[in-house]
Symmetry: C2
Subunit: 349 residues, 2 copies
């Protein structure tokens, strides 16, 4: 069975489990995940036994040439209204939409029409990778990891952060990537201490930290990796902080396994950093799901208790940020397995 047809079947099973008759969707990401058809401006209805995609007339030929397992419907008077009308025609009593995925205007219209709110169905489907998408994600991560080995030796004193940004991007594109998976972060010196630094024209000086947080999109799948190193002769403080983060990250990766809670992975990393006296400088969660989006379900944080499942892809990325001095973050994307995990972004560090 076609992977997209299978996903729609899986969603139909979930509808039954959650005692729903249908799910209305308006975001390109979910519709693309279920059909392989990623054009903005469509809406979709999946009932327990059927699937319809509503779209501007000009998309119809294209849709029908690609998708056979869902019905394409031209909806000139608005795709949201057409999806609603279909749900009505089918007399669906308990149709839902996913609040987390919708715009306010769309959700408001559906809510007014009596559609229920029910989160997490497509997010749960998307979280567990299977079949071809695993290989695509592996390749996306491999491209990112390889780029580190190619670009790092070229990062010399005097280069700007933005020039390194562009070289990372070009290097990944030359290996087949579509583009960067987010606004890549290249931070030199004190800029490395800002977890969300905006890559700038700052030039690299001798003897300072270099932080690269980057990734690519390959076949719609996002990769995410961070490497930090010292350009020149590392200070005592850098060595110390680096070794704490490295220890925390390795322990986090070692903790990942099907059945383990997302919170437990965070706790391992946070514990090591706190025990070393740097707890207050680890200012973000330990990781997040990665796939069609760079940040997706589940989060690895103290507040999120989700059991990891085989096939989930998550990042493990503890960090310590010393304002005005430097920051260290080490991040890998990993694939959860029954016995542990596969590190997808392996580099020679």
């Amino acid at each position: 069975m076609n992977i997209h047809a299978k996903r729609i079947k899986d969603l139909q099973h979930m509808l039954k489990e959650h005692r729903l008759d249908g799910l209305l969707m308006g975001r390109t990401l979910e519709i693309g995940f279920l059909t392989g058809f990623y054009l903005d401006g469509c809406a979709m209805l999946v009932s327990r036994s059927g699937a319809w995609v509503f779209m501007p007339r000009m998309f119809i030929e294209h849709f029908r040439s690609k998708v056979s397992f869902a019905e394409g419907v031209a909806a000139d008077a608005g795709v949201e209204a057409a999806a609603l009308a279909k749900a009505k025609e089918l007399k669906l009593k308990k149709a839902a939409f996913e609040p987390e995925s919708e715009t306010y205007v769309r959700g408001r219209a559906w809510r007014k029409a009596g559609i229920l709110e029910h989160d997490g169905l497509t997010a749960a489907l998307r979280a567990v990778k299977e079949g071809e998408e695993i290989e695509t994600l592996r390749k996306s991560c491999r491209i990112a990891a390889k780029a580190f080995g190619i670009v790092k030796p070229r990062i010399k004193t005097g280069r700007t952060e933005l020039s390194v940004y562009r070289e990372l991007e070009d290097t990944m594109q030359a290996m087949g990537a579509k583009g960067p998976s987010f606004n890549l972060i290249v931070g030199f010196g004190p800029n490395s201490a800002m977890p969300h630094h905006e890559t700038s024209e700052r030039r690299l000086k001798n003897n300072e930290a270099v932080l690269l947080d980057y990734g690519c999109v390959y076949g719609n799948y996002c990769s995410d990796i961070t490497r930090t190193y010292f350009h020149g002769r590392p200070t005592e403080e850098f060595r110390k902080v680096y070794s704490i983060v490295e220890k925390a990250q390795k322990a986090g990766v070692a903790k990942v396994r099907a059945g383990v809670s997302s919170r437990a992975v965070d706790a391992v990393c946070r514990g090591i950093i706190s025990d070393a006296g740097y707890g207050q400088y680890f200012t973000h969660g330990t990781g997040h799901g990665v796939g069609l989006e760079i940040h997706e379900f589940p989060r690895l944080s103290p507040r999120v208790d989700v059991p990891l499942r085989a096939g989930m892809a998550v990042t493990v990325e503890p960090g310590i940020y010393l304002h005005g001095k430097f920051g260290v973050r080490i991040e890998d994307s990993v694939l959860v397995t029954r016995t542990g995990c596969e590190v997808l972004t392996k580099t020679a560090r």
Copy 2:
């Protein structure tokens, strides 16, 4: 005055005009437009006399180093709730949010707290370009236009659509662009007849149409341009259709002027194409605003009656699509002036 400080002042004037006490915002685009600070995960409140941005603690140093005219507030328990609490503390009676810009979850929370819905304030501010952003948009468009002259001679028989996509992207990046401004469309032969064709591995044959719809992001500003030509010896039908679209597009551009309705520009293009007997094959609107987003206010369509204002940037892009054969679309981004418009994407055709 700093351009961002001025925009906040302009918004405060609009609040007064619309008898509102404040505006709550949660989308990065609007917050970035008003502050120059474009990090995801913030919320903003602008009252008639103040401006606050609520953010995760880890952004605060970065924010304060960039923004002096709005107050940065660390909001560890959620930025939306923090913005609400501030509005309450200030006793704002008529605070609003913009339904078109918000996610369902955020809008729902604000609506429940009694915040009003009021659309179009920031969209109207963003539509009229001024100062530095005009020069940035010009440059973005100039890069896109130049790329056509460079890439076109290299589009030979046998090349794939995707390889041309990448060359357009690389060429624009070499001129300073950050990246493409949307999923660029490269369509060969019958693929040119799909207005939203997904660029593929199809190879160019002798004697068929080539359609390039592309643009770049330069300094956050999007450009948008489409060129169509015949690779080889044009058929009689292609020549005929091309000359109709060209006539329609030139007439549309000639119609653009401050004070003219968006609908009137659409009517001019649509009239010429309909009079030539191809009305049913022009399946989309004539254009759209362009700026921080590739599609923004106002739309140029039969259904939208907005007077153009000097400083607005819009596209003019009529097309005729003959399914299974070929399509022709010609598009320029133009800047509205008091006496007409400045074509920003001029190429030697």
